[in-house]
């Protein structure tokens, strides 16, 4: 091996212009977490976390967030494909509409969901009369509320990934005889897998932290709709700020655990 290849890459000193803003950003993100940790009732934490109610909320949160993510991936990836790959009219408007939940205050989102899916709602009425299905106050309703706010993350991430992949791979697959579905499954999807994963992670995290739309649409019923954020809200209203902080730490810990586990795949993009 020649000396050139054996040497380490040229001394990569971080330019001050990049370092300073990064540190500021990092501080902005981390200091509030540190504050939370400082006020946490560390001695009481095991009791808080071991309590039945908290475990129930935790299970509910994990279950609903996961179901939401699966739903968003199943529906969001085809939607992203439609936006990125077809020439349907009105795509630009559609794209804009899909990002509305990102800017809508979640409570308004919840009200909108009620108008659409409540028992007297646009679609909800039909659902109730035909199938006896009522979404508000149910765990399914929680999934609907979470999906509403989290799906845009997935669609945007995947559409972005699709736009950067070379469409000519799909052309080549076509000349080799692959149908549209086969091409999507074996050529397109693997090439955007990192984008899908990144989108899914964002989707999951957003669903986990969702409060406004959930409490407005699904209510805060322990065991069925009281996810961790709603349980924290309840604790505060009960005057038990310590439990609320403890619950918040649980959410932070769970999120960090999942994100760290997936980080390698997310960043390396394999």
């Amino acid at each position: 091996m020649s000396p050139a290849t054996a040497a380490r890459p040229a001394d990569a000193r971080v330019p001050v212009g990049l370092l300073v803003p990064s540190l500021v950003g990092l501080a902005l993100m981390l200091l509030p977490l540190a504050g939370l940790a400082a006020r946490a009732p560390w001695t009481r934490l095991p009791d808080i976390l071991g309590s039945e109610d908290v475990l129930t909320s935790l299970r509910l949160s994990l279950a609903t967030s996961t179901v939401t993510t699966v739903l968003c991936v199943a529906c969001g990836v085809p939607l992203a494909w439609l936006l990125a790959r077809t020439t349907l009219p009105g795509r630009a408007i559609l794209r804009g509409l899909i990002t509305v939940p990102l800017v809508l205050p979640p409570v308004i989102g919840g009200v909108a969901l009620l108008v659409a899916f409540g028992r007297t709602g646009l679609v909800g009425e039909w659902l109730y009369e035909t199938f006896g299905l009522s979404l508000p106050f149910t765990t399914a309703g929680v999934v609907v509320a979470q999906s509403f706010v989290a799906m845009p993350f997935l669609v945007v991430a995947v559409e972005g990934a699709l736009r950067t992949t070379d469409r000519r791979f799909e052309d080549v697959a076509a000349t080799l005889g692959a149908s549209g579905w086969t091409t999507f499954r074996r050529v397109t999807l693997p090439s955007v897998a990192p984008g899908v994963l990144a989108g899914a992670v964002l989707c999951w995290a957003r669903a986990l932290g969702e409060f406004g739309a959930t409490i407005t649409f699904a209510g805060s019923f322990p065991g069925t709709t009281q996810t961790l954020p709603l349980a924290a809200y309840g604790a505060i209203n009960r005057g038990d700020a310590e439990t609320a902080i403890g619950l918040s730490l649980v959410m932070v810990a769970v999120s960090i655990a999942i994100l760290v586990t997936l980080r390698k795949r997310w960043v390396s993009g394999r």
Partner: protein, 350 residues
């Protein structure tokens, strides 16, 4: 068994209109400068582009007929394609790449892999079967891409600048290899290239495309001897003039005269190689020579010789020795006289 195609594509600033025929076992090289429309022709043949007008028939199967609204999608044409940067699927191994077409058409995985392996063997690439595309060199990737296209037994093979992605060192070897494989292929082949040497080596017939129209077609030798456009002339390294012949003289360019070795009449092409041109500072006197005044526009190294671009009533390229350049003190702006023997001038009807 053959390909017969008429393709018309209209864009804002561009119009492509070609009629192409390729017999089974034949390789047609589609040659032309960038922007001539070569890739558009391939895309239309592959089914990736809908021509505005046209009819494409491959082995008695109508692929495209705009009048009757027929347009088979790429999957239903028996067309194989190898593109400039090969586009091997990055997340699959070489073997999986080659097997892709078979599996896409329903062959079970095991059988597809066996057949793909046989093809890799034939290409001398069996050792590469497990490698990922990013672990392959340009030449290796080209072989895999070719195998991938051939394994589904296409009736028409399309190659888009197949050697462009290779460095000059590997190109000759891969080119010779490719010629062997194309010779062994029994369907029709269309190779698109901007490199004349590639066209000459790979093609049984050359079709020259400029600005969306075919300006010349024929066997490689014919093109080399009798170019019909400046582009082709430049490609094959000839000076080309157009003029009217009357007896043994032709009037070319801005009213200059060229003495011919034999009689001709009517509109003609006049061609002579740069090496047939001699330059001097004064008007030469001598036998049967054509002489024209001019001014040096450019001086450039060209192999062992120096290529001089001369402007004037007869614009031309002259190859002279470095010694001559020094003796004549040739530099841009110098006034020179060019001379060519009538016997070195080729004349043919335009």
């Amino acid at each position: 068994m053959s390909l017969r195609a008429r393709i018309v594509v209209r864009r804002e600033s561009f119009r492509l209109g070609v009629t192409l025929g390729v017999d089974a076992g034949q390789v047609v090289a589609l040659l032309g400068p960038n922007g001539a429309g070569k890739s558009t022709v391939l895309a239309a043949l592959a089914g990736l582009l809908r021509p505005d007008e046209g009819r494409i028939v491959l082995d008695d199967v109508v692929l495209v007929d705009t009048e009757r609204g027929v347009h088979l999608p790429p999957q239903r044409r028996q067309v194989g394609m190898v593109v400039q940067d090969y586009l091997l699927f990055p997340h699959m191994s070489a073997l999986e790449n080659v097997a892709f077409g078979l599996r896409a058409r329903g062959t079970p995985r095991e059988a597809a892999h066996v057949e793909a392996m046989a093809w890799l063997d034939r290409m001398g690439a069996d050792a590469l079967s497990r490698r990922r595309p990013r672990e392959l060199s340009g030449g290796q990737a080209q072989r895999i891409a070719l195998a991938r296209a051939l394994v589904v037994r296409p009736r028409l093979l399309l190659l888009d600048e197949p050697l462009a992605a290779l460095d000059a060192g590997t190109r000759p070897v891969v080119r010779a290899d490719l010629r062997r494989h194309l010779k062994a292929f029994d369907g029709c082949t269309v190779v698109v290239t901007h490199d004349p040497l590639e066209a000459l080596v790979l093609g049984d017939r050359i079709v020259v495309l400029e600005h969306g129209t075919i300006v010349q077609e024929g066997p490689p030798g014919e093109l080399a001897r009798h170019p019909r456009t400046d582009y082709v002339a430049r490609l094959v390294g000839l000076n080309l003039l157009r003029g009217e012949a009357h007896g043994q003289v032709a009037t070319v360019g801005a009213d200059a005269a060229v003495a011919l070795a034999h009689e001709a009449a009517g509109p003609v092409h006049v061609a002579f190689p740069p090496s047939a041109v001699t330059l001097s500072l004064h008007r030469p006197h001598g036998s049967a020579r054509n002489t024209w005044p001019g001014r040096v526009a450019d001086v450039e190294q060209h192999g062992d010789l120096v290529r001089i671009t001369v402007d004037g009533p007869v614009p031309l390229l002259a190859d002279v020795t470095p010694l001559a350049v020094a003796e004549l003190a040739l530099a841009p702006g110098s006034e020179v006289w060019s001379a060519v023997k009538a016997t070195e001038v080729a004349v043919y009807p335009a």
